[in-house]
Symmetry: C2
DNA sequence: TTAGTATATTCGATCTATCGAATATACGCA
DNA sequence: TGCGTATATTCGATAGATCGAATATACTAA
């Protein structure tokens, strides 16, 4: 059981482990949005957004409701926003390390 | 910058997105431990543990110090424990969904 | 120096994630 | 019915993560 609980947690973390999905959660923190509006705000491909939304749906992180032609998404539990806020504090507490890590991320991005 | 911050957060979440690494953090929450002791507690391969520790080290999530033959690991910032605790509350809040999800995880595990 | 113990790294195989392009579905309106 | 718009799914290519086996490194003690 302990192991299954860890798999569950790992699964939730996995679903947060992508910049686009974090951006989606941040977009939803102030209320529900239609998929199209999210897409516009993030400036990504329609299919790509839909894939990320499918991941968040499958992990029960977002709720969705259809209204006519559109699908509105919302956060199921604001505690995840709380986690993101904690991460910001964490980031600030480790700013010099974070800066170094960001440098590495940026360097990798440039190399590719 | 906003994007880099999201990459940083995603990177941290990625490093938490594995049951073994969650188990490591839980083991360390009460204080530092030698790698060997962690290995014994988790019951996994030595190389495998070392690989997971390398990931946690590279993301600055754990600190390590050598003492003679051994390497002692500890959490760099208790805020991550806080995050794990929040996840436990999250888990409880979504217990029925979680149960379903665990069922799916277990089913997949059985199929493979 | 040699042997033994603790930990880290490298390698290759396998599995999982991500992307854009193409296509499918579902709805509203003429 | 047929067309346009919004969203979802499938596909194939590429990149990244994970594992155990083998090997390397670092330290201790004889």
């Amino acid at each position: 059981m302990q192991n299954l609980l860890r798999e569950y947690k790992a699964d939730i973390f996995q679903s947060l482990a992508h910049p686009t999905r974090i951006a989606i959660l941040e977009a939803l923190r102030d209320g529900e949005m239609a998929a199209g509006a999210i897409q516009e705000q993030l400036g990504i491909e329609q299919a790509n957004l839909s894939q990320h939304l499918a991941i968040l749906r499958s992990r029960q992180i977002v709720a969705h409701r259809k209204e006519g032609n559109q699908v509105f998404y919302s956060l199921r539990n604001p505690v995840l926003v709380e986690v993101l806020d904690i991460m910001r504090r964490y980031f600030q507490a480790h700013l010099s390390e974070a800066r170094q890590m960001l440098g590495e991320i940026a360097a990798e991005a440039r190399t590719r």
